[in-house]
Assembly symmetry: C2
């Protein structure tokens, strides 16, 4: 394994799965691939993967049936799905994560972005993400212009993955996360709490549809403390 990562493999794997469940890419009742296949696909050992799955089971997100398979659990929408986030903040009320759409604009793709999609234009979606009322991250998502003529802010639900699937018939089949270092995005709202230490890093996502066509490119900025919270699963 690479030694660049600060977090152990089983935690990163569990975190990744939790994100995909919370985002709607893995739906309730869905069955995961066999552990051996899944481990081989992830490039990790079965034992390590099993430790991740045990974590998800402990959180009530997964049901493991011997001889049958691992199934995404049907969780009551408002409470269970975001247990991951709730647990990390744990400031009493159990606040839910929200996503306020700041702006949606169709414009030319940025040159800094990797090539994705067929159109030279894209829908630029900027969101302010909060957890339990506390601002947690800024997010910029690019959706390929060929996917939709126009995207209304009111169309975007809390989960972009669900919007893609229900409105665009687009299924995100792969997500890559890379953690690096960045500065504050220039479109930061005036009331964004810069003082909490928003200097740490960002997550860069490139999503592909089932035909291996890039349809989404996104970057998420977050503040220092949130990074650490999200990173720590246990």
């Amino acid at each position: 394994m690479s030694t660049l990562h600060a977090l152990p493999i089983y935690q990163r794997t569990a975190e990744q799965l939790i994100r995909e469940i919370a985002a709607g890419r893995l739906l309730a009742g869905e069955r995961l691939p066999p552990e051996r296949d899944m481990a081989a696909q992830l490039g990790i050992s079965v034992g390590t993967l099993r430790k991740s799955l045990a974590d998800l089971e402990a959180r009530g997100l997964l049901e493991r049936r011997q001889g049958s398979g691992n199934y995404i659990r049907n969780v009551p929408d408002a409470t269970g799905i975001y247990a991951f986030f709730r647990l990390e903040l744990s400031d009493g009320g159990g606040g839910l994560p929200t996503a306020d759409v700041l702006s949606v604009k169709r414009c030319m793709k940025p040159s800094a972005a990797p090539p994705f999609g067929q159109s030279s234009e894209g829908h630029r979606i900027r969101r302010l993400r909060s957890v339990g009322g506390r601002v947690a991250a800024l997010e910029e998502i690019w959706l390929d212009g060929g996917r939709a003529e126009k995207v209304m802010p009111s169309d975007l639900s809390e989960s972009l993955y669900l919007y893609y699937r229900d409105c665009l018939g687009l299924v995100i089949s792969r997500v890559e996360d890379r953690v690096g270092v960045s500065s504050v995005p220039p479109w930061r709202p005036a009331d964004f709490p810069l003082s909490v230490g928003f200097t740490a890093g960002y997550v860069e996502r490139i999503g592909f549809d089932q035909d291996a066509f890039a349809a989404e490119y996104s970057r998420t900025w977050f503040d220092n403390t949130t990074v650490r919270y999200v990173a720590r699963l246990n």
Copy 2:
């Protein structure tokens, strides 16, 4: 491993440790032996033991410090110690386990008992054990007659181990549990709920003091359902 046991090794090991904590043989703050030593002593692999220890940590009974050791956690008496039992019943109120002393009598040791202690007489203690108001088990304990001249029912606290330690200066250093099949004890109270299925088995305990002198012999009968509850840690 032996195939006679219905429960996996890691569960039996965790159960055994939990009992010793709840009974007071392992005190708060105490440090366990290194995992490798402990595993060798138990005749199991380190990985299996670690699974048991992780279980105890998840219950809040143990604190594991990398590079340092495993420490019994200081739990608030009335609530935390019996988490094991509370969890298994989980019928709302979180009832605590209790032990009502039915009788204490000094008499000749039974011939069926294994040899223990130096005296030919012993104190026969019979207790009715309940969890959350529900009768759970019958218990017969024999304490060697040489240990005390007289034992008053009022002396016996909820935990016999604590009574031994505080009143008799006797430290139980080893406990053996064997599960077998037995019939209902002949001294069963008339109101004991035989109907719930009290036909299953018993636990036989032989305790030794630090000088390797047997000082206690006990048998515990329990009903079917309780057995299964106690047995299932997860």
